[in-house]
C-alpha cells in the first residue's frame, strides 16, 4: 500500500510542522537587541556607555534645558522680546507642574539613570578588568552627576533643609526591578549620600590613565572627572572640608591646565572638538558632525543664526573688566533691531561639527577649591587658587587681595564670570540661600525681578504626569 506509506509520511510531516519549535515564533528585530542579552562583552559595555552619553546630551537634559535654566532663572541671561516662544514660562517665573522643561529634565534624567543602572548591573557580571572598571566607573560617575542635577532642581538645597524630599533613588534597571515600582522621594540628605557613594565608587575603580576604550579625552568621564564632580556635590552640600579634599585631589593629580594666554583661550572656545591634552575641560558631551542636536542645541538658542532667543544681561556684561578675555565671549549685536549682548561662548552653531556640551571644567574646580579654602579659614590658599584663574583670564589683573566676606564675594563673582552660560549660576543662589535679583532688561520679555528666599519657584515642580504615574510622589510646596 504505497498510499498508506504516503499517508504516514504526510501525517508525520504535518506532525513535525505542528511540533514546530518555539524558535519559529522568536522573531528578532534587526536594529536592536533584547535588553537582557545586550551586554555580554566589554565591547557591548562600551557601546552602552556611548549610548548613555548620547541619551544625556539631549536637548531636554544637558544639551540645552539644564544649562539654559541654570542661567535664565538667575541673573545671567534673559529671553528677548523677539523670541521663538521657548523658555517664556521660566523667564517669567510662571512655570507650573505641567510645564514642559521641568517635565523633560525629570524624565530624561531618569532615562539616563536607567542606562547607567543597566551598565552597572550588567557590567558587574563581566570579569573585572581595567577596561570594564573604567566603563562601569563612567556609569557610576554619570549616575552621581544625574542625581546631583535632579536633587538640586527638584529638591530643597541641602544647606537649607537636608531632610526635605529630594528625588526617588533608583539604582536597579527597571527591566530587573519591574516597571510598576512606585518609588517615593528620598530625603535630600539620602540623595547626597547616594551621589557621594556613586562618585566614590567611580573614583575607586577607574584606572588613572584611562584605557584603550576611553583614553583620556574630555568626551569621557575620567577618574579625576569623577572627583571634580564630587567637589561640586560637596560644595552644593555645604561640606567645604570634603569639597576642598576632592578639588585638591583634582588640582594636584588631575594634570589639568588652563589656557595660558589670549590666543589659547580664544582657540579653546572656538574649538568644537574634544580636548585630548587636559586643557580646560574635564568632561563635556560630544556633539560632532555626525551626531549633534542640529538646531535644538544650546548654541542655537544663543546664535543669531539659530533661534537666538537668549542674550546675556547688561548686568553680567558689566561684571567683566575691559581686559577680561571672557568678555570676548559676548558680542554686541542686534536682536529685533535693538542692541543686545549676543552670547558667543559656543560659536560653532553654523558648523557641521558643533560645540561640545560643557559639563565640568578645571576652572570650576579652582574656584570651588578657592571657596572651600576661604570657608574653612585658609584665605591665603583661597587667593592662590582664585588668582591662578583670575589672572590668567584677565592678563592686566593684579590679583585679589581681599579678605573675609569680600573675599567670598570676589570668589562668587569670579565663579559667575567664569561659568556664565554653563547652567550653574542658579545653584549658587539656592545653595547659599540668597535672594536672586534678576536685572531688568530693556528688551527682556517680561521681568520677574526678585526671587526671594521664600519663593517656592526656587525648586522646580515634580511633573504632574509623573505624579499621576507614581502615587508615592509628593509635590513640592507651592505648586
Amino acid at each position: 500500500m504505497k498510499f498508506n506509506k504516503l499517508l504516514y509520511i504526510l501525517l508525520a510531516g504535518t506532525a513535525t510542522l505542528t511540533a514546530c519549535k518555539k524558535s519559529f515564533l522568536d522573531e528578532q528585530p534587526s536594529t536592536s537587541v533584547t535588553v537582557t542579552e545586550s551586554i555580554k562583552t566589554t565591547n557591548d559595555l562600551a557601546d552602552a556607555v556611548n549610548g548613555m552619553y548620547n541619551v544625556m546630551k539631549a536637548t531636554t537634559l544637558f544639551g540645552r534645558d539644564i544649562p539654559v535654566l541654570g542661567d535664565l532663572l538667575a541673573d545671567n541671561t534673559y529671553v528677548n522680546v523677539t523670541n521663538s516662544g521657548r523658555y517664556l514660562l521660566e523667564n517669567n517665573y510662571q512655570f507650573i507642574s505641567t510645564t514642559t522643561e521641568p517635565s523633560n529634565i525629570y524624565s530624561r534624567a531618569y532615562f539616563s539613570i536607567l542606562q547607567a543602572n543597566r551598565i552597572i548591573y550588567e557590567g558587574k557580571k563581566l570579569p573585572a578588568s581595567d577596561d570594564n572598571n573604567q566603563l562601569i566607573g563612567e556609569a557610576y560617575a554619570s549616575r552621581g552627576l544625574l542625581y546631583l542635577e535632579l536633587v538640586n532642581w527638584f529638591g530643597a538645597p541641602y544647606t537649607v533643609n537636608p531632610t526635605a524630599s529630594g528625588v526617588p533613588i533608583v539604582t536597579t534597571p527597571s527591566y530587573v526591578s519591574g516597571f510598576s515600582v512606585k518609588t517615593p522621594r528620598a530625603t535630600v540628605s539620602a540623595v547626597y549620600t547616594q551621589i557621594v557613594s556613586d562618585l566614590d565608587s567611580a573614583y575607586a575603580i577607574m584606572p588613572t590613565g584611562g584605557t584603550s576604550f576611553h583614553a583620556i579625552n574630555s568626551d569621557y568621564i575620567a577618574k579625576y572627572a569623577a572627583k571634580a564632580i564630587e567637589s561640586r556635590a560637596y560644595l552644593y552640600k555645604g561640606d567645604y572640608a570634603n569639597a576642598l579634599t576632592a578639588a585638591k585631589l583634582v588640582v594636584d593629580n588631575g594634570q589639568y591646565t588652563l589656557a595660558q594666554n589670549a590666543s589659547a583661550f580664544t582657540g579653546f572656545w572656538a574649538n568644537p572638538a574634544a580636548q585630548t591634552g587636559k586643557l580646560e575641560t574635564i568632561f563635556e558631551l560630544n556633539q560632532n558632525a555626525s551626531s549633534n542636536l542640529g538646531n535644538t542645541g544650546l548654541d542655537a538658542i544663543f546664535s543669531q543664526a539659530g533661534y537666538g532667543d537668549i542674550q546675556a544681561t547688561d548686568d553680567l556684561y558689566s561684571a567683566y573688566t575691559a581686559t577680561d578675555l571672557r568678555r570676548t565671549l559676548m558680542v554686541s549685536g542686534l536682536r529685533g533691531g535693538q542692541q543686545a549682548w549676543i552670547i558667543n561662548k559656543f560659536p560653532n552653531y553654523s558648523n557641521t561639527d558643533k560645540d561640545e556640551t560643557k559639563i565640568i571644567r578645571y576652572a570650576e574646580v579652582l574656584v570651588t577649591l578657592a571657596e572651600s579654602y576661604a570657608r574653612t579659614g585658609d584665605e591665603a590658599n583661597a587667593k592662590i587658587y582664585l588668582n591662578q584663574l583670575a589672572k590668567v583670564r584677565d592678563p592686566s589683573f593684579a590679583g585679589y587681595t581681599s579678605t573675609g566676606a569680600q573675599l567670598i564675594t570676589d570668589i562668587l563673582n569670579e565663579r559667575r564670570k567664569e561659568l556664565a552660560f554653563e547652567g550653574l549660576r542658579f545653584f549658587d543662589f539656592t545653595r547659599l540661600n540668597l535672594v536672586i535679583n534678576r536685572p531688568k532688561q530693556a528688551y527682556g520679555y517680561v521681568s520677574y525681578p526678585t526671587v526671594s528666599i521664600s519663593d517656592y519657584h526656587r525648586i522646580l515642580p515634580i511633573p504632574q504626569s509623573a505624579r499621576d504615574a507614581n502615587s508615592a510622589l509628593t509635590q513640592n510646596p507651592g505648586y
Binding site: L10, G13, A19, V35, D47, Y106, R108, Y110, F111, F179
Partner: protein
C-alpha cells in the same frame, strides 16, 4: 510529541470507521452550472427509498445504490435534477440556479466551503460579476455599500490608495491599520490592511494589484462563527476574495474594454475658494474693519500682495480632466479532468489633480487538475505590476496640490507673463515662504512614484484518503516588492530649506503560509441525513519584510533630471531593517447537520505568534453557533407567504494581532545611539512580555427570510462585540526611565463595545417576461462606545476619550454664534450653555457629536427591459459630524493674508448691526474675535450624504444576426458614470462629505467622477 499522538489517535478512529464501510457504493460530485463551483449540502436521494445523503464541502457525495435506480438532486435556489444511475462512473452533476440572485449559496473561506443553508455564522457575499469593469482602482472601493456592516471610507481619491474599511464599527484604537479587517485571497492570509510603506503623504494599498475582473466573489465574515477560525486575527472581520476558476465545457473567451474621462466632483458652493475679485474685496474690507490702517496703507498693502493683477483661480490650475481606461481579456475552459482560468488586464486611472495616477498590469492563471479518483491539485497564480505617482497630499504638506488651491492667494500667480511657470520666491505676489509654493512648479519638478510588483501563488493538493477522510495540503506565497522614488526640488516646496531632498526606498515582503488539513465526514449511523463534518489542521505563516532607505539632501538647483539620491551633496540617512512576523496555529472546526434543518457548529484555534509577548504567546479562540431552518419543519409548510426562514446565532472569541507592531513587546536596547562616531546602544524600548492580542467576544443573532419562492430575501442581524485588552500606552512610573521624553509602555488595558443592527433586502421584486428589477438594499446601524480606558476622561487630540462615549467623540468649544449687535463671535462658557463669552480661551470644551457614522447604507438596482440594462448604485452615510483640519485659516478675515477663504465665510459674514448670521465680522487680526476661526462646534458639519456611486446603461447586441454569425455570444455595449450625484445635508459644508474615518478633511486628493463607455465581448 503530544501532537503526534493526537494525530495517530485521530487516524485510528478513521481507520475503524473505514473497516465498517460498505463495498457497493457510488461517489459523485455536484457543481453549479453557472460557475462550476462545487455545491455543498445538496440533498441526493434515491427515488422510491428513504435513502439519501448530503454532498460535502467539495460537492462530493457517496451513497450505496445500484445501477438503474434514479438519483434526485435538490438544492435551495437551484432547479432540481434527476438521473438514472449508469453503469460505471457517475457524471458530474451540474445544477442550474433558478434565479439570478442566489449566488451566495456557499461560504468559502481558507478552511473549506460551507453551505449557506446550514451556515451558522453571519457573512455577506458579493459576486465578482457585480463589480467587473467598474472604474475603481481597488476592490474595496467597489465593495462600498454592497454588504451591510462593511463601512468603506474612500478617504483619498489617489488612484490605488488604501481605503479605510471597518466591519461592524471601530474595533481597535491603536492605529488606523489596527482596525482594518483581515484579508484572505484564495485561502492565503495576505498583508493587506496597512499602507505598504511608511512614506509620509503617500498611500498605496497593498491590494491595489487585485483586478476586479478576476474576482469570483468577495465574502465578508462578520461574526464569531465565521471569524473565530482565524483566531488572533479575526476580530476586525475577514474579507475573503475567491478568484475565478476554470469550468469544464465550452471554452469561453471574454474581452472587456472600458474607457472615458474623469473630472472633478463639483465643490460644494459653500467651499469654493474666493474668486480674485472676491478675495480683493474681502482683503480690503478686512483691513478697513480692523481700524488700524489708513486708506493709503491699505492700498500699499494691496499693491504688495499683487491685488492689482487679474489674479488666477488656483483650484482650476491644480486640477484637470483625467482619463480612465481598462482592458481585460480572459479565457475560461477545460474538461472534467483539467480546468483553466486565465486572464490579463490593464488598468490606468488619472486623478483630476496634477501628477496623480496609477497604471496596473495584472495576470491570473488558475488551474485545477484531477490527477486520479482520489487526487486533485489546484494552482493559483496572480501577478500584478503597478506604477503609481502620488503628489504629497494632505494639508500637512506645503506642496499638496489641493491644499495649495486653498492656501494660495488668488494673486500669487502660477504663470509668468511669458507663460512660463512662476518660480520666484520673493515678493508677496510670488511664493516667498516655503509654506507657500507654486504647485505647478512642484508638479513639473517633483517625483513621487512607486513601482509595486506582486506575485501571489498558491498550490493545493487534495487527497481523498477514503470516502470520509480527505487531506488538503496548501502552500502559498505572497511576494511583493516596492521601489519608491521621492524627489522634492530645491527651488520651492517641502524641501526648499534642504536645497532639495531625495529618498530611495526599497521594500520586499515575502509572506508564506502552509497548511495541512484533514477533513472528516461522518454519517451518524442509523440516522438518516445526520452528518458531522469535522476538520482539523495546522497552519504556519511567516511574513518577512525587508526595507532599506537612502535619503539625501542638497540637489543641483538647475538640473531637474538629476533626481537620483547619488546626485545629492549631503547623504543624510541610509538605513536597512527587517520587519517579520510569524504565526503558528492548530485549528479545528466541526459542523453537525441534521436534515439541513438543524445545524450546530463549533470552531477552535490555538494561535501562537511572534508579536505576542512570551508571557502570553499562545491563545485559544473558539466559537459556537447554531442554525434552525424553520422551512424544514412541517408546520412551516402550512403557510405560503414565506418560502424559507432561518434563525441563527453564534458566540465566540477572536483576537486582533494587528494592533501589535512587530517586535513591540520586546524590551530592547536599540543601536544607533552613537557617540563620538562610535557605536552606541541604549535601552530605549520598554517592552512588555505580557503584551498580547486584543480580544473580542462576539455575539450575533440573525434571521433570514425568503419570499416568493426566494425571489426576495430579507436578513436582519443584531450583534454585540465586546473588545477587551485594547492596547494603549500607559503612563508608567517615570523613575523606570520611561517618562515623558520616551515612548511609554503598551499594555492591554482598554475595552470598547460595538453594538448594532444590520438589514438586507435582496432579490428580484419584479420579474415579467420583458422586465426585471434586481435590488440589494442594505443598512447597518452601529453604536460604538468605550468601556474601559488607561485614563478615563481625557483629551485625545481633537476627541474626548471617556467611558460611554464613542471613540471619535469631538471635544471642542461650543459656538454660540455671532452677536448681531457688533459681529463678534461668541462661545458658551459652560457645557450647560448658560452664558456666552467673546474670549475663546474662556469658553468650555465639551464633547459634541462623533466622526464615525451611525448608519451606512447601500442601495443597488439593476433594471432589465428587453435586454436594455440600467444599473444604479447608491451609497449613504448618516449620523456623524465631520470637520476640517484647516478651518482656522480658511474662514473669517483674521488671517486674510495667509490663505484664500471659503465662499460661505465671505457671503455670510456679519456686516450690519442686527444681522443674524454665524460668520463673524471680517476683520484683519480678528478684532475682539481674533480666535473666531479656531476649532469649535461651528466647524463640525453634518456628515450625512447620499451618493449615486455608479450608474450604467447598456444593451446586449448578441441577438443581432451579424453578431451571431461571428460566433459572438455576448456583445454588451454600455455607458457608465461614477459619483454623478451627491446629496449632503449641511449647506455650510465646504468640502466633499467623504472624509477619513476620524472625520477630518485634510484637503487630500479628491475623489473623481468618471464617464466611460464600455464593451464586453464573449465568444
Amino acid at each position: 510529541m503530544k501532537r503526534i499522538f493526537t494525530f495517530f489517535f485521530t487516524l485510528s478512529i478513521f481507520a475503524m470507521n473505514f473497516a465498517m464501510a460498505q463495498n457497493t457504493k457510488l461517489t459523485g460530485k455536484v457543481v453549479s452550472a453557472d460557475d462550476g463551483q462545487p455545491l455543498p449540502g445538496v440533498s441526493v436521494s434515491i427515488q422510491g427509498t428513504k435513502q439519501g445523503v448530503l454532498s460535502d464541502g467539495d460537492g462530493n457525495f457517496t451513497l450505496t445504490a445500484s445501477v438503474g435506480q434514479v438519483l434526485a438532486f435538490s438544492y435551495v435556489g437551484f432547479t432540481g435534477q434527476q438521473i438514472t444511475i449508469p453503469a460505471g462512473a457517475l457524471p458530474v452533476i451540474k445544477l442550474k440556479s433558478d434565479n439570478h440572485m442566489l449566488s451566495d449559496v456557499v461560504i468559502k473561506d481558507s478552511y473549506g466551503t460551507q453551505a449557506k443553508k446550514t451556515y451558522t455564522g453571519s457573512a455577506g457575499v458579493v459576486k465578482g460579476a457585480e463589480n467587473e469593469n467598474k472604474p475603481f482602482s481597488t476592490f474595496q472601493q467597489a465593495l462600498q455599500g454592497e454588504i451591510a456592516g462593511v463601512n468603506v471610507q474612500i478617504n483619498s481619491g489617489q488612484p490605488g490608495a488604501l481605503n479605510q474599511v471597518r466591519i461592524r464599527g471601530i474595533n481597535s484604537i491603536t492605529s488606523a491599520a489596527a482596525a482594518q479587517p483581515l484579508y484572505v485571497i484564495d485561502g492565503m492570509i495576505v498583508n493587506g490592511g496597512a499602507d505598504l510603506t511608511q512614506r509620509a503623504g503617500g498611500t498605496l494599498s497593498p491590494l491595489a494589484g487585485i483586478n476586479n475582473n478576476d474576482i469570483e466573489n468577495i465574502t465578508v465574515l462578520k461574526d464569531a462563527a465565521a471569524t473565530a477560525i482565524y483566531g488572533s486575527r479575526g476580530s476586525n472581520g475577514v474579507i475573503v476574495i475567491n478568484t475565478k476558476r476554470g469550468k469544464s465545457g465550452k471554452t469561453e473567451v471574454r474581452f472587456d474594454a472600458e474607457g472615458g474621462i474623469s473630472s472633478n466632483l463639483p465643490l460644494p458652493d459653500a467651499g469654493k475658494p474666493l474668486t480674485p475679485d472676491q478675495y480683493r474685496s474681502m482683503f480690503n474690507e478686512a483691513f478697513v474693519n480692523s481700524g488700524q490702517y489708513t486708506a493709503a496703507q491699505i492700498t500699499a498693502l494691496g499693491t504688495s500682495y499683487g491685488l492689482n493683477s487679474a489674479g488666477n483661480n488656483w483650484y482650476d490650475l491644480v486640477t484637470k480632466r483625467g482619463s480612465q481606461q481598462q482592458y481585460n481579456v480572459s479565457v475560461n475552459g477545460g474538461n472534467e479532468k483539467t480546468r483553466i482560468f486565465t486572464s490579463a488586464g490593464y488598468f490606468t486611472q488619472d486623478a483630476t489633480v496634477l501628477k496623480s495616477y496609477l497604471k496596473r498590469i495584472t495576470g491570473t492563471l488558475n488551474l485545477d487538475h484531477t490527477v486520479s479518483k482520489s487526487f486533485s491539485i489546484a494552482t493559483n497564480l496572480n501577478v500584478s505590476s503597478i506604477n503609481q505617482n502620488a503628489p504629497l497630499q494632505g494639508s500637512a504638506y506645503y506642496s499638496s496640490p489641493l491644499a495649495s488651491a486653498y492656501f494660495l492667494r488668488p494673486f500669487q500667480l502660477g504663470y509668468n507673463a511669458d507663460g512660463s511657470i512662476n518660480s520666484s520666491v520673493t515678493g508677496n505676489a510670488n511664493f516667498p515662504t516655503s509654506s507657500n509654493s507654486n504647485p505647478l512648479y512642484i508638479a513639473a519638478h517633483d517625483v513621487r512614484g512607486i513601482n509595486n510588483v506582486r506575485l501571489l501563488g498558491a498550490q493545493t493538493i487534495k487527497w481523498n484518503i477514503w470516502d470520509q477522510l480527505k487531506y488538503t495540503g496548501y502552500a502559498s506565497m505572497d511576494y511583493q516588492t516596492n521601489e519608491e522614488t521621492s524627489f522634492l526640488n530645491a527651488q520651492m516646496g517641502d524641501a526648499r530649506s534642504l536645497n532639495g531632498s531625495g529618498t530611495s526606498q526599497y521594500s520586499r515582503y515575502a509572506n508564506w503560509l502552509v497548511r495541512n488539513q484533514l477533513d472528516y465526514r461522518y454519517n451518524i449511523h442509523g440516522v438518516e441525513d445526520f452528518y458531522v463534518d469535522a476538520s482539523v489542521g495546522y497552519e504556519a505563516q511567516k511574513s518577512a519584510g525587508y526595507l532599506n532607505t537612502a535619503y539625501a539632501t542638497g540637489y543641483p538647483l538647475t538640473q531637474p533630471t538629476l533626481t537620483a539620491v547619488g546626485n545629492a551633496a549631503t547623504p543624510a540617512t541610509a538605513s536597512e531593517s527587517t520587519s517579520n512576523y510569524t504565526f503558528d496555529a492548530l485549528y479545528a472546526r466541526a459542523n453537525i447537520n441534521y436534515k439541513n434543518r438543524y445545524s450546530l457548529s463549533g470552531s477552535f484555534r490555538r494561535d501562537g505568534g511572534s508579536r505576542f509577548g512570551t508571557d502570553k504567546q499562545y491563545g485559544s479562540f473558539y466559537s459556537v453557533g447554531g442554525a434552525w431552518n424553520i422551512d424544514g419543519e412541517d408546520f412551516f409548510k402550512k403557510q405560503n407567504i414565506l418560502t424559507t426562514a432561518k434563525i441563527r446565532s453564534s458566540y465566540g472569541t477572536t483576537g486582533n494581532a494587528n494592533a501589535l507592531a512587530n517586535y513591540q513587546w520586546r524590551p530592547t536596547a536599540g543601536y544607533g545611539f552613537n557617540y563620538n562616531s562610535a557605536n552606541g546602544q541604549a535601552y530605549n524600548t520598554v517592552g512588555n512580555p505580557s503584551l498580547t492580542w486584543e480580544s473580542s467576544k462576539k455575539f450575533d443573532i440573525g434571521v433570514d427570510f425568503g419570499f416568493f419562492n426566494d425571489r426576495l430575501l430579507f436578513n436582519v442581524d443584531y450583534y454585540n462585540n465586546k473588545v477587551d485588552g485594547l492596547i494603549q500606552l500607559v503612563n508608567i512610573p517615570w523613575e523606570s526611565g520611561f517618562g515623558a521624553t520616551q515612548t511609554s509602555q503598551a499594555q492591554n488595558v482598554g475595552a470598547l463595545q460595538n453594538k448594532g443592527w444590520e438589514f438586507t433586502v435582496k432579490g428580484v421584486p419584479v420579474k415579467t417576461k420583458d422586465f426585471s428589477w434586481n435590488v440589494n438594499l442594505n443598512a447597518a446601524y452601529n453604536a460604538n462606545r468605550m468601556t474601559k480606558l488607561a485614563q478615563n476622561n481625557q483629551v485625545n487630540g481633537n476627541y474626548w476619550l471617556a467611558n460611554n462615549y464613542d471613540y471619535y467623540t469631538y471635544y471642542t468649544r461650543a459656538y454660540a454664534g455671532v452677536n448681531p449687535a457688533n459681529g463678534n463671535a461668541l462661545w458658551y462658557t459652560d457645557a450647560g450653555r448658560t452664558s456666552t463669552t467673546t474670549n475663546y480661551s474662556a469658553a468650555a470644551r465639551v464633547p459634541y457629536g462623533h466622526a464615525d457614522p451611525k448608519i451606512t447604507s447601500g442601495f443597488s438596482n439593476t433594471f432589465n427591459y428587453k435586454g436594455i440594462i440600467l444599473a444604479l448604485d447608491f451609497y449613504g452615510n448618516f449620523g456623524n459630524r465631520i470637520s476640517d483640519s484647516w478651518s482656522y485659516y480658511l474662514n473669517d478675515g483674521t488671517y486674510i493674508t495667509g490663505a484664500n477663504k471659503y465662499q460661505y465665510t465671505w457671503l455670510n459674514r456679519w456686516t450690519t448691526p442686527g444681522q443674524v448670521t454665524d460668520v463673524p465680522k471680517n476683520v484683519y487680526g480678528g478684532g475682539s474675535s481674533s480666535n473666531s476661526s479656531s476649532g469649535s462646534t461651528r466647524f463640525l458639519y453634518y456628515g450625512d450624504y447620499i451618493r449615486l456611486k455608479n450608474v450604467s446603461l447598456g444593451y446586449d447586441l448578441k441577438n443581432l444576426d451579424v453578431v451571431k454569425k461571428c460566433g459572438i455570444s455576448k456583445l454588451y455595449l454600455y455607458a457608465r458614470a461614477t459619483n454623478l450625484w451627491t446629496k449632503t445635508y449641511d449647506k455650510r459644508l465646504p468640502f466633499d462629505p467623504e472624509v477619513p474615518i476620524n472625520g477630518y478633511n485634510t484637503e487630500d486628493i479628491p475623489q473623481i467622477r468618471t464617464i466611460t463607455i464600455g464593451l464586453n465581448v464573449g465568444f
